[in-house]
């Protein structure tokens, strides 16, 4: 069914009780061409582009939980492409281009709002570094500006740029095309499109193992029995490591808790996304008026999806340094996701040591913004067996060969975060 003003009107007569499900309920078949493990944004985007760009619909997307219940539905919804290194920049900038037309393409309002991303610098050294990042981005064709602290104050009412702030703001990197996208809508939009095209989406069914023969996967085992396939993509974020270990692949990543916070709703005060770099806190305002905040990870390995109080205090302290008025607001909710963080802080995407097993994981606390670009490229790899240029730097074997994607410029550093 196409969503439109007419369908809205029609369904209002029946009290909105008869809208079809986002994804059709299915009985799994005994065999598929491609199985995607993980119905997060990345897995579902891959399914969408397999159908749309390559007309491949003999696909199962399977999830232990529900659509978008992983990190896709837990993130702070920020999209941007302000990365220094080409590998990171190009993939995320391609995603930024895709976000622009995606609501139309999916016939689903993703609420993409390019409200501008402002990354604050607190020292001359930091500002220099931002300048070189901005120049690198310009070479890649992105629109980016360096703001003075006065320009920051003009653009962002309520922000403290005074000299007696604890960590004075001396300027910022500003990416006007950055912003937010509604995360649940991304999962639902891709799921609906893929399902309409004929892709099967199976929820509440964990993958418990793989059947394999001579370095070749023949199928998956699930709580509802075995399902055969030609190819498997593991796209299960923090669970990818455990899944890969079932076929004796160890992944170079730590699993660490990351939290997000929402304040009570207030009148519109903030029409951009602002990131505070002395310590870490970033903030945006939803259409409902809540302030959404995030910060650094909890800093140690965890699968608990339960936040540490000290990082709540820490993030909110930074946020109030940035916007003093926040101290008078109440926190409404906070939640966590398990971030899968590889040793160089960048994702692992592409082939695996097992012939017909593909990997997409290690996106940590930064992969939402890349969702459509990863789906697009991964679908190309699965359909054509040609590794798209955008994905080449993200190969698993870079940890062995030393070709790390070192955005932070601090070298290979286990438990980086």
């Amino acid at each position: 069914m196409k969503y439109s003003g007419f369908s809205l009107l029609k369904n209002s007569f029946s009290g909105h009780k008869h809208w079809p499900n986002i994804a059709a309920d299915i009985e799994p078949k005994s065999r598929y061409d491609i199985i995607i493990v993980g119905a997060g944004g990345h897995g579902l985007a891959t399914a969408h582009y397999l159908a749309k760009n390559h007309q491949i619909t003999d696909v199962l997307v399977i999830d232990s939980g529900w659509i978008g219940g992983g990190n896709t539905g837990r993130n702070t919804t920020i999209v941007r492409s302000d990365y220094l290194l080409n590998a990171s920049f190009k993939l995320k900038d391609f995603a930024l281009q895709l976000w622009q037309a995606l609501s139309q393409e999916l016939n689903f309002n993703l609420m993409y709002s390019p409200r501008g991303y402002i990354d604050l610098a607190h020292s001359d050294g930091e500002l220099e570094h931002f300048l070189s990042r901005a120049n690198a981005m310009r070479l890649g064709g992105a629109n980016v500006e360096i703001l003075s602290s006065q320009q920051v104050a003009d653009r962002v009412p309520g922000i403290d740029v005074s000299d007696n702030a604890r960590f004075p703001v001396c300027g910022a990197l500003y990416q006007p095309d950055g912003g937010v996208v509604r995360h649940d809508a991304v999962a639902w939009g891709f799921a609906r499109s893929a399902s309409t095209a004929g892709v099967h989406i199976l929820q509440n069914c964990p993958v418990t193992g793989f059947t394999a023969k001579d370095n070749h996967i023949t199928g998956i085992s699930t709580t509802r029995g075995n399902i055969e396939c030609n190819k498997v993509l593991i796209s299960a974020a923090s669970a990818s490591s455990k899944l890969a270990s079932m076929v004796d692949i160890k992944l170079p990543m730590d699993l660490i808790n990351v939290q997000a916070f929402v304040s009570e709703p207030v009148k519109p005060i903030l029409d951009s996304v602002v990131n505070y770099n002395a310590g870490l806190a970033y903030i945006s305002q939803t259409d409902k008026g809540e302030l959404v905040m995030g910060g650094a990870t909890d800093g140690y390995e965890s699968l608990a999806r339960r936040g540490s109080f000290s990082s709540i205090e820490d993030t909110l302290a930074r946020a109030t340094q940035m916007f003093p008025f926040i101290s008078r607001l109440r926190l409404m909710r906070h939640w966590s996701g398990t971030a899968d963080i590889p040793m160089d802080g960048n994702a692992i995407v592409g082939r695996s040591p097992v012939e017909n097993l593909y990997l997409n994981c290690g996106w940590g606390y930064a992969g939402f913004k890349a969702t459509p670009a990863v789906g697009w490229s991964m679908a190309e790899l699965l359909a054509t067996e040609q590794l798209p240029q955008l994905l080449q730097p993200f190969a698993l074997d870079r940890f062995k060969s030393g070709a790390l994607i070192d955005d932070a410029g601090i070298g290979p550093y286990p438990w980086l975060h």
């Binding site: 490591s241 455990k242 270990s245 160890k250 992944l251 170079p252 990543m253 730590d254 699993l255 800093g299 140690y300 390995e301 965890s302 699968l303 608990a304 339960r306 540490s308 109080f309 000290s310 040793m343 940890f399 062995k400 290979p412 286990p414 438990w415």
Partner: protein, 77 residues
């Protein structure tokens, strides 16, 4: 919030500590690159409990090793 059992100071609040990561066994310096790769980068994330190092920075300044459950955050000795 973790209450971390320091062998010298007893259970103390996590903000007093620095994390030292997985308690890995480093190979000898002249071992091969691939040995070092296995140890430095590769992680076994299939278990629920891990051995890890903590540093009691704002206390006795001692490094120590503990076993912790990643789902419940309980320490086991």
């Amino acid at each position: 919030m973790l209450l971390i059992p320091c062998p010298n100071c007893g259970e103390r609040d996590e903000i007093e500590f620095d994390y030292g990561g997985r308690a890995i066994q480093y190979p000898a310096l002249n071992n091969s690159m691939s040995d070092w790769h296995m140890v430095l980068h590769q992680r076994d994330n299939s278990t629920e409990t891990i051995e890890e190092f903590w540093y009691h920075q704002s206390g006795c300044e001692c490094w120590f090793k503990v076993t912790r459950n990643l789902n419940t955050h309980e320490f086991e000795s």
